[in-house]
């Protein structure tokens, strides 16, 4: 019986955050802290000749300047974390000034002179592919090349009744978590404690230890409250290494906090894919062949290639196409390196396949829902042409449900059109992969006073996972949720873990917590057997109690915990190990594959301003532990996806200068552009986990762009192929 699972339980995380008692990295101070400011490359490509910091050193309060720091970190530029010989993009760290306070550090940073010889820059990925201008000296621009192929799409397209070609552009975006990145590194005689605005303290410990193993014995990483991340705070950043290095060098606590302008320049950008597709189909709407040339704009390093792989593998989406090929080209450009952002490859795949569906419907003059139905996978599990194994789902039922909303919105749109308004209804169906593993950990500990402490290896930062996991543990142990505390984000509290990314925490850490709770229950039975002088076989755990159905005797979990703790200084005379703790690690042998549909009614005014009049989303993410939290993920994700569709684009000029370097130029949606969303969920496509959830962290940023763009396209009556489509494009 679940008292909590499935309910809209208010968040345990909130009280401190609504009173200003959250502790984000910049809120943490240590005596003697030094402040670090980074001097960054002002140009996109140049040979670095000299860094002159003599004036900076003269400033009172400056402790030192670091230049030329180079460490070997996989897939990062050779000049990492600092440019030493070559400047590769605007914003790349060149030097670090360390000073007694923030103002002095930034004053001194302005006195550092960078002497360089400009080199030609390449910013357009299609230009980069030609390899005329090199983005990185001594390297070809094609950093990555891969072919995904199934069947014979060339033949299928040449024999198709209809075919078309299109170039689909997904621009670079900036994840824009409201809290900029930041780190504090505290040195204590061979040991470091690093506080970081990260999505994965355990992973950060590992990558920092890899680089500094010869200088420290161990590194404890603590994740304080984190002000959003959306994928952007997972992977190693230059400033992490620079700050740690500075604290080792000066043997003092060192703090670095990004300004927003710095954050826009160095936080890894995302998306940045061009898909040139050729598509063939039969007259009845059956999709027969797709060829896609995928160019991914990696920026100045190659760590983002996996995003193209995910996009390629998921390109078939929920449709049963067998003749398909994706040619992947990953190119270097003189821009900030590319990495993941909410959705990571699946928004790109979904955008392309859903654009194909809508465009094909237009070409065939066919109803676009009928077209999707015709091509929809009929039964699951299903192995897609690139070997991806989709798990359970009832795609057709969900599509039918969304269709009703679509028809209703179409009727509304018809009426508005008759009043002369430019409106359109857009539809998308998405299938994604999430719960990126390999596993996650949790430890459940019952204290002597009966309070339950749950420690998870996942590292949530706004999702509300602690509340969801408290629901799971409270239900499993049969205790009041107010007695369950969930903590995370410290490498010294749980042995290993991965963190929060890829819509994984509730399912993987949640199931680990479930299994750990079960271990605690078994232990409670064994201890109670001692206390009640019963055979453990006779006892059962029910509603927070261990009961002997024969004798009617029972002990609550709290009583068992209290009895284990009763005498200080006495002896332990029971034949069972004391302690009520369980730790479990949980992994799945496949990713999970949630799916859903988005429907948008949109109006475009004469200035090209896009107003969403009505919005509906439906998801099947298996078991929903807390619908309020899931809905929150959808609402936030839809507005991010909307931003990506009509507002957000990181723009560089031809020389590689960043033109969108502040929140004044890089526009994210405000409450005025945002709109209300109606959300529903189905629980048919369960995962194979004991608690059969999937994940909802990213679904909405995947489903939104194709539905909104389709609605805009129908409103203006002109084919749209680019994210974002800005007012002047309309």
């Amino acid at each position: 019986m679940s008292r909590y699972i499935g309910k809209r339980i208010k968040r345990k995380e909130d009280p401190k955050l609504i009173t200003g008692q959250g502790r984000y990295v910049d809120d943490i101070e240590f005596p003697g802290t030094l402040y670090l400011a980074i001097v960054r490359s002002p140009v996109a490509h140049a040979t670095l000749k000299k860094v002159d910091f003599s004036d900076a050193l003269k400033l009172s309060g400056v402790v030192g300047v670091i230049t030329g720091l180079n460490l070997r970190v996989e897939n990062r530029p050779s000049n990492f974390p600092m440019a030493k010989t070559e400047l590769l993009y605007v914003g790349q760290p060149v030097a670090a000034v360390v000073a007694k306070d923030k103002y002095t550090a930034y004053d001194a940073a302005e006195l550092v002179q960078i002497d360089y010889d400009s080199l030609p820059a390449v910013t357009d990925p299609e230009e980069a592919l030609k390899d005329d201008v090199k983005a990185v000296e001594g390297k070809g621009n094609v950093a990555y090349r891969k072919t995904y192929s199934s069947g014979n799409p060339e033949k299928a397209i040449s024999e198709a009744d209809v075919s078309f070609e299109e170039k689909l552009v997904i621009s670079r975006v900036y994840p824009a978590a409201m809290e900029p990145r930041g780190v504090i590194s505290v040195y204590q005689q061979g040991f470091l404690t690093v506080y970081s605005s990260t999505q994965s303290p355990h992973y950060m410990r590992r990558y920092l230890l890899n680089a500094f193993a010869d200088k420290v014995k161990d590194i404890r990483v603590i994740q304080p409250d984190v002000g959003g991340a959306f994928g952007s705070k997972l992977f190693p950043y230059p400033e992490d290494y620079i700050t740690v290095y500075a604290s080792l060098l000066y043997e003092r606590p060192v703090k670095w906090i990004a300004t927003r302008s710095e954050d826009i320049r160095q936080t890894y950008h995302a998306r940045g894919q061009i898909h040139k597709v050729k598509v063939g189909a039969k007259r009845d709407g059956t999709l027969t062949g797709i060829i896609d040339d995928l160019i991914i704009d990696l920026g100045a390093a190659s760590h983002g290639t996996y995003l193209a792989d995910i996009a390629a593998q998921m390109l078939p989406g929920p449709y049963s196409i067998r003749d398909i090929k994706v040619e992947v080209y990953g190119v270097y450009t003189n821009k900030t390196p590319l990495d993941q952002y909410r959705g990571a490859g699946r928004p790109e795949a979904t955008f392309v396949i859903e654009r194909i569906m809508s465009i094909l419907a237009d070409e065939l003059k066919m109803d676009e829902i009928e077209l999707r139905k015709k091509n929809l996978i009929k039964s699951t599990p299903y192995v897609n042409p690139f070997g991806v194994k989709y798990d359970n789902g009832d795609y057709a039922s969900l599509l039918n449900k969304a269709e009703q909303v679509y028809r209703e919105m179409e009727r509304k749109a018809e009426k508005l059109r008759s009043e002369g308004r430019k409106v359109g209804v857009g539809f998308s169906f998405y299938l994604e992969m999430n719960n990126f593993g390999p596993w996650e950990s949790a430890s459940v500990r019952v204290r002597g006073d009966g309070r339950v402490l749950v420690i998870i290896g996942a590292a949530p930062h706004g999702q509300g996972t602690a509340t969801g996991i408290a629901q799971i543990v409270a239900d499993e142990l049969g205790v009041d949720i107010d007695n369950v505390d969930v903590i995370w984000g410290d490498t010294s509290t749980i042995g290993e873990g991965y963190g929060t990314y890829g819509s994984r925490s509730l399912t993987l850490a949640g199931n680990a917590a479930l299994l750990a709770s079960r271990k605690v229950k078994e232990k409670a039975i064994r201890l109670a057997a001692q206390f009640l002088k019963s055979d453990p076989q006779e006892l059962e755990y029910k509603d927070g109690k261990v009961v002997n159905p024969k004798t009617g005797k029972s002990m609550t979990l709290k009583e068992i915990a209290a009895k284990s703790m009763s005498v200080l200084g006495g002896v332990w005379r029971y034949k069972e190990e004391p302690g009520l703790e369980g730790t479990a690690y949980f992994g799945l042998d496949n990713l999970t594959y949630p799916y859903g549909s988005h429907v948008a009614l949109v109006e475009v005014d004469d200035t090209g301003f896009v107003k969403v009049l009505d919005y509906y989303a439906i998801d099947d993410i298996g078991l929903v532990v807390n619908p309020m939290l899931a809905e929150g993920q959808v609402m936030g994700g839809v507005i991010q996806g909307f931003g990506e569709t009509v507002l957000e684009e990181v723009i560089h000029d031809k020389e590689g200068n960043l033109l969108t370097g502040t929140f004044g130029d890089y526009m994210i949606p405000t409450a005025v552009e945002a709109f209300n969303i109606k959300w529903e969920y189905m629980e048919k496509g369960k995962s194979d986990a004991p608690l059969p959830a999937k994940g909802i962290g990213e679904g909405a940023t995947i489903g939104t762009p194709p539905s909104v763009l389709r609605a805009m396209e129908k409103a203006v009556g002109k084919r749209l192929t680019k994210l974002p489509t800005l007012p002047w494009d309309l």
């Binding site: 968040r11 909130d14 009280p15 200003g20 959250g22 409201m178 409250d225 502040t662 405000t670 945002a674």
Partner: protein, 173 residues
């Protein structure tokens, strides 16, 4: 009345102001931003989300009006009264706006939340019964990347009701 004051760059200026009802004396360089001063004084609920006064994470109430404290110099706050998010809850009881944010799930990471709550505080003072459009306009200087704003709007509506009813019927469900 605004009077023009001239300071030397490295001069230390002593200012006096009230934060959340408490008298504070603070010595500062003339160029220091109010947001930095407040944070140094321990009011770390006042957040910094940008360097171009676009985000509103630093919003506080100064002399009864909402200001982005990153656009005010600490010396300009001399003699003023400031209310930050830390000053809203009274005697261990949340302010109705705080309750409403909790009840409506109007925050995720919580980074925009203090600024958002202070802006809502000001908005509801000016317009006790705002329409949805007025709420959206009113908070449009405060960016939130997590929530999509829908639940924030709902929370402000609920807070408006609570405040107008002059009660804070907070029952835990």
């Amino acid at each position: 009345m605004n009077e023009v004051k001239v300071y030397e760059k490295d001069q230390k200026v002593k200012i006096h102001f009230k934060v959340n009802g408490q008298d504070v004396e603070y010595e500062t360089e003339p160029r220091k931003l109010l947001v930095h001063a407040l944070r140094e004084l321990g009011f770390t609920g006042v957040h910094i989300g940008c360097d171009t006064s676009n985000c509103g994470a630093c919003t506080v109430i100064m002399n009864g009006k909402s200001v982005k404290s990153c656009t005010v110099l600490a010396v300009e706050a001399d003699g003023s009264e400031i209310l930050t998010v830390e000053g809203l809850a009274k005697d261990g009881k949340l302010h109705p706006i705080q309750e409403a944010f909790w009840e409506k799930h109007a925050l995720q990471c919580g980074y925009c939340t203090p600024g958002m709550i202070m802006e809502a505080y000001w908005l509801l003072k000016e317009k006790p019964d705002p329409t949805e459009e007025e709420i959206r306009e009113g908070i449009s200087g405060n960016l939130c990347r997590c929530t999509g704003y829908q639940n924030i709007v709902e929370a402000v509506k609920l807070a408006s009701q609570k405040l107008r009813l002059g009660q804070t019927p907070y029952q835990r469900q």
